[in-house]
């Protein structure tokens, strides 16, 4: 019924195609090699993640170990942690920073290990990439779920010695920005200690341990 009639004035199509061509040109022109690498990296990490999930008869302990390993290979956790602390990173001393990065990692692994394990039958499609600068790219992907709307996820990849994901953008919402705002709220009401306490409580509750 919905596809019964599909009409559009041709000028709209011309404008659309021209717009797409411009977008493509702009995204491919600078640092094309870097974006291709970032794209290949995300595709590879996605395939690896699916391998973790589809290991037959894997128990919780093994799954968590595998997922931890996957996070280490795929994400620059210290960079993500530092970003999420925002201006308070400067205020924290070495000891607090080390403690915080550890808490952040357990929080990140705990959150996504549980969430990721509920996945089944999803398809992970890498759609393309655009360069932010010489070392950073945004890789567009889509998670297609049976019977539900697909989820658009962008991976912010930075390449130092090797590519790593530094942020995820889910339907235009940045994990890093959201956590930075949440953490800032907790710190404003009770200081760094309150944040550490909140993270510890959260981490203790994860069903899969961590």
């Amino acid at each position: 019924m919905q596809n019964l009639v599909k009409i559009g004035p041709s000028s709209r199509w011309i404008a659309g195609v021209a717009g797409m061509a411009t977008a493509l040109f702009l995204s491919v022109a600078p640092a094309a090699a870097g974006t291709r690498e970032a794209e290949a990296f995300v595709r590879q990490r996605g395939a690896d993640a699916i391998k973790v999930l589809s290991t037959p008869g894997i128990n919780d302990q093994q799954y968590l170990r595998e997922f931890n390993d996957f996070v280490d290979k795929s994400f620059d956790v210290p960079a993500m942690a530092q970003f999420a602390l925002g201006i308070y990173w400067r205020q924290a001393n070495e000891q607090q920073r080390a403690e915080y990065v550890k808490l952040y990692k357990n929080y990140f692994v705990g959150t996504y290990a549980a969430r990721f394990r509920t996945f089944s039958g999803e398809n992970f499609d890498v759609l393309g990439a655009r360069a932010i600068n010489e070392t950073e790219s945004l890789v567009q992907s889509r998670i297609v779920r049976p019977g539900q709307a697909p989820i658009n996820v962008e991976w912010h990849v930075r390449e130092n010695s090797q590519p790593k994901v530094v942020d995820m953008i889910i339907e235009g919402l940045r994990l890093g920005v959201t956590l930075r705002d949440e953490f800032s709220g907790v710190i404003q009401s009770g200081g760094l200690d309150a944040l550490f306490k909140a993270l510890r409580e959260r981490n203790a509750k994860f069903a899969l341990g961590a």
């Binding site: 019924m1 919905q2 596809n3 019964l4 009639v5 599909k6 009409i7 559009g8 004035p9 000028s11 709209r12 404008a15 659309g16 960079a79 970003f83 925002g86 201006i87 308070y88 400067r90 205020q91 959150t111 655009r130 932010i132 600068n133 070392t135 950073e136 945004l138 912010h156 930075r158 530094v166 942020d167 235009g172 919402l173 940045r174 920005v177 959201t178 705002d181 949440e182 953490f183 800032s184 709220g185 907790v186 710190i187 404003q188 909140a198 959260r202």
Partner: protein, 243 residues
Amino acid sequence: MSRYLALAAAGFLAACASVPADPIARAAYEEANDPLEPMNRAIFAFNVKVDEYALEPMARAYRKALNETARDGVRNFLHNLSAPVTFANDILQGEFDRAAQTSWDFVMNTTVGLLGFVDVTEGWEPHKEDLGQTLAVWGVGDGAYLVLPFYGPSSLRDAAGLFGDRVFDPATYALDPTEGANFFATRAVTDAVDTRARTLEEFNEIKRTSFDFYVTARSLFRQARRNQIRNGAPAPFDEITFN
């Protein structure tokens, strides 16, 4: 008169959070851009109750009562109703291609698409514009964060836009004041139920896992709003770089 003004001013000040003196705390306070936080939190708590006792149950019932195709029809209908306001704001933003798309979709969907229930121009990403977005494109800042009763997260700018948009809505002129009020209220409730029904699981998950639901909602609202204002274009690269 001046007595009421003084009273209103006192109420406004009481609703304001105190500005911290410490430079880092102050930077965080300014970044939050929420000087009305105490008042906003009270309204937010009220809205959460409204959601718990009315909106969420209605959304669940709505999802049970209508199948996906019927719900898509309702959403298409609502979207089509907002086309005149979108069209006016497309023009005000100088987005003439998008204005052409909006008007074409509106004419086709209203006629061939049976008053908008069927989206016959599918294949083009539908978009919505409002006066808040237009003001932003013109360079007006967000203004303080504002939580509106029933409506939810907004800002001083967007709340002003909400009232201004009535000027572009044919319903304002086609209906007498009582009918108009009923129409706008019914439309707002249907829209809220439809949106809540489409995001039931996601909304509840965020509510359950957030450190402070109020702060999380503020952050997510702002990010989503900025994406809308940029019409889905990527954020400026100098804002998002990790280097």
